[in-house]
Symmetry: C2
Subunit: 409 residues, 2 copies
C-alpha cells in the first residue's frame, strides 16, 4: 500500500466530464488499496473569469481581496471532484487551504508555504477516504486567505507530499512527460523515463514549462519523488528524482530553448570597480529581470558589457541604458531583440569532457553563428539569431543522439 | 455615530454595476462617520449555476460538499464589493463565515448559528474600515463550511447586528418595504412605516416573502431593530421592531395570502384518543409539512379531521390518507387543491373585539364561502376557493381601510 499525492491542473478538470474522468482514475488507484490525496486547480478559464470581474471593478485590486476572490476557483473544483468520487461509491472529503491547514506567509498573490498540518488528512486517509485539497491557496497566521502565485497548485501538491511523506507525487498535465526537447520542433523527441531535479530546474527555467520551477525546487529540497504524467492517456510519464548510480546515464538529457530573449550591449565602458552595479542597478530598479550576463575586457582599459532580458522588457531596458551611457563615459549602446537561447542540459556533462566542443562543432557545421555563451555545472547555453532556432535544436538533438535511449554503462 | 449592519441580496449585487452602486451607497454612510458591517449574498444566478454543476455530477450531492461549493458564491461577492469600496477610497476588508468567525452547528445546508466572534470586526470598525462579510455561511466546530439555508444571508445580518449590538440592521431588497398586502393584487396597498416582529412573522409565514422568517425570529429574540429597504431607490423602508405605546395603532397591519394550499379531510373517524397522531404521524414521516389543522366532532362519536398542506404535497398526502382510512375505520377521504388562505394580521386585534365579525361580514357581502377558519392572537386566517383570492384580499383591504394611515389614538 502506497501513499500518493496527485495533482490535476485546470484543463484536466475543465468540465464536468473531465472531473468525472479524474474521479474514475482516482477510484481505480484507491480500489487497489492505495492512499490518495488529490490536489486540484480551478476549472480552466475560471481564474481568468474571476480576475476579469475584479478588473471590471478596479484597475489594480488589493492583493488580499484578489486572493479571496480567485481562491474560490479551486474550492469549486474540489467539491465537485469530491461529489464525483461519492457518485462512484468512493469515500472522499474536500478541504480548502484554510481547512487543511496550509500555513503561508502574508505575501498575497505569491505567498510561500511555511507549514502544513497533516493531522486531519492523516485521519481521513487512515479511515479509507480520498482527501481532496484545493491547490494554489493557503492562509496566513491571521487566517487571511493567500494564494501561491501562478502554477501554485504544483507547489501545493509537492508540499503535501513532503508533509505526508508520500511515496510519489504525480503531476497530471496535458503532456505525457518531460521530453528531450519540444516535439513541435523535433518530431522524434523522446520522452524521458527519469530526469534529475537539477536537470528539470534547468529545463523548466529555460522554457520547458511542464512544471512550476518552485515545485521542483521544493521537491528537490524535501526529496519528494515527482512524476509528470498525462491526465488524458495512460503511461508511466517522467520521474523526477535524485541522481542514482543505476540511473540511465545520458551525457545530455535534453535541449531547452527560449524564444523570448533580447540582448543589450554597452560598449567601451571604462573598467572601474562598481561598473556592473551602475549598469544593472537601474535595470533591477525598473523590475526588469536579467538572464545571462557576460563581460569582456577589450584590453584597452574599457569593457563591453552584455546581458539578456525578456523580449517584452527590451524597449524599457534600452531606454535606461541610453540614459546612463554618457554618465558612465561609455561608447555606445547596442541591442538585438531577434535572438533566442538554446541550452543543452545534463548531469552527465559534469563527468565528461568534450560536450561543449561537440555542441559548438555541431552549430558551426550548420553555419550558425554563436552570439553569446554561458555555462553552468549541468548546462551550456548559447544565444543565436532567432531564425536559426529550429535548425540548432534539431542538429543538437541528433548530435547527442537524444532520440535513442542511452546505453547502460 | 451609529453602527449599522447592511445586507444586500443577490439582485442588489447581481452585476459589476450593481456592486459599484452598493459601494457608493455604503461609502456615503461611512463618510457621515457611521460604522458599517455589510453582509452580501451571491450574485443573482450564481448559486443556481453552482448547484447546476453539482447536479451534473451527482443526483444527490453530499450536503457537506454542497456547502463547500455554494459558499464560494458569497466569497466572490464580498471580495468584489471590497474592491469597489477601495476604488472609491473607502477602506474595507472582507471576511468569510470561517474568518469572522460565525460558528454554527453541523447541519449542512441548514445550519444554525451558535456563536459569533466579534473581535476582528470590532478592531476593523474601530480603525475606520467597512467590514464586508459573506452571508449565508459559517463553520462548525471542526471548521467544516456550513450554510444557513435559503435566505440565510438575512439571518447572518441579524446575527451580526445582535453580536455587535448594532443600532439598526438594514435589509436591502428589491422592494421598498413591507406593504399592507401584495400591491400586485391591491394597487393602492400602502407601505408600512413600522410593523411589529410578531406581525412580520405572521406576514412572512403567510406568504409575504420579503424577509426570511428565521431572521425575523432572531431579530425579535435579540431585539435587533430591523429595517427593510430598497437597494434601488431611496426611502425610509419599513422598520420592524417591538410594539411601542406611541406606535401607530392600526387594528390590522396587513393582509397576507398563500396560493399554494391544498386541504384534505378524513370523515367519520371514530373519536378515540390518539386518532390525531394516527392520522398526522404518517404524514409527518413522509416529510410533509402541515399548516392548519381543524377537527369537528360530528356528535355521533365520530369526528371529521381536516388539515392543509402545500399544494405540491397534495397527491402524496392523499395517497397516505387513502391507505390508512380503512385501518382507522373512517368513512372517507376527500380533498381540494384549488384553495387559498387569506389572513388578516395585526397586534391591534388583541385589544379590539369585532375584527373577526368584520372580516366574515365582508366576505359574506362578496358571496365568498369560507371553507376553514383558524385564528391566533394576532391573525385570523380563512381558507376560500382559489377563484376568490383577489376579490377577498381587495374587499378586506378596503373594509379595514388599509390604504390610509391609521389615526394616532
Amino acid at each position: 500500500m502506497a501513499l500518493y499525492v496527485y495533482k490535476f491542473g485546470g484543463t484536466s478538470v475543465g468540465s464536468v466530464e473531465r472531473i468525472k474522468a479524474v474521479a474514475e482514475r482516482v477510484k481505480k488507484v484507491h480500489d487497489q488499496g492505495h492512499q490518495l490525496v488529490v490536489v486540484v486547480s480551478a476549472m480552466s478559464g475560471e481564474t481568468n473569469r474571476l480576475i476579469g470581474l475584479a478588473k471590471d471593478i478596479q484597475q489594480s485590486p488589493s492583493s488580499r481581496e484578489l486572493d479571496v476572490l480567485v481562491s474560490t476557483g479551486e474550492q469549486v473544483t474540489m467539491s465537485l471532484l469530491s461529489m464525483a468520487l461519492h457518485d462512484l461509491g468512493c469515500p472522499a472529503c474536500s478541504y480548502t487551504g484554510s481547512q487543511v491547514k496550509i500555513l503561508t506567509d502574508s505575501s498575497f498573490t505569491k505567498a510561500r508555504i511555511r507549514k502544513i498540518d497533516d493531522a486531519r488528512m492523516r485521519k481521513d486517509l487512515d479511515s479509507g477516504r480520498v482527501v481532496v485539497v484545493a491547490g494554489f491557496q493557503g492562509v496566513d497566521e491571521d487566517n487571511n486567505i493567500t494564494t501561491l502565485g501562478r502554477g501554485g497548485s504544483d507547489t501545493t501538491a509537492v508540499a503535501l507530499a513532503a508533509a505526508l511523506k508520500a511515496d510519489e507525487c504525480h503531476i497530471y498535465t496535458d503532456v505525457d512527460g518531460v521530453y528531450t526537447t519540444d516535439p513541435r520542433v523535433v518530431p522524434n523527441a523522446r520522452r524521458l523515463d527519469k530526469i534529475t531535479f537539477e536537470e528539470m530546474l534547468e529545463m523548466a527555467s529555460l522554457g520547458s514549462k511542464v512544471l512550476q520551477i518552485r515545485s521542483v525546487e521544493f521537491a528537490g529540497k524535501y526529496n519528494v519523488a515527482l512524476r509528470v504524467l498525462s491526465s488524458f492517456q495512460d503511461g508511466p510519464g517522467t520521474l523526477i528524482t535524485y541522481e542514482e548510480d543505476q540511473m540511465e546515464q545520458a551525457l545530455i538529457s535534453g535541449i531547452a530553448f527560449n524564444r523570448d530573449e533580447a540582448k543589450l550591449t554597452i560598449t567601451g565602458v571604462p573598467d572601474l570597480p562598481g561598473v556592473a552595479f551602475k549598469i544593472l542597478g537601474p535595470i533591477a530598479d525598473a523590475n526588469i529581470e536579467i538572464d545571462m550576463i557576460i563581460q569582456n575586457i577589450a584590453g584597452d582599459l574599457t569593457t563591453d558589457f552584455t546581458f539578456t532580458v525578456n523580449r517584452n522588457d527590451y524597449p524599457k531596458a534600452k531606454e535606461i541604458l541610453d540614459s546612463i551611457c554618457s554618465e558612465l563615459n561609455a561608447k555606445a549602446v547596442t541591442g538585438d531583440d531577434k535572438i533566442v537561447k538554446v541550452s543543452i542540459v545534463g548531469v552527465g556533462m559534469r563527468s565528461h569532457a568534450g560536450i561543449a566542443s561537440t555542441m559548438f562543432k555541431t552549430l558551426a557545421q550548420e553555419n550558425i553563428n554563436i552570439r553569446m555563451i554561458s555555462t553552468s555545472e549541468i548546462k551550456i547555453s548559447v544565444v543565436v539569431d532567432e531564425k536559426y532556432l529550429e535548425l540548432a535544436v534539431r542538429a543538437l538533438h541528433e548530435a547527442f543522439d537524444l532520440e535513442h535511449k542511452p546505453q547502460q554503462r
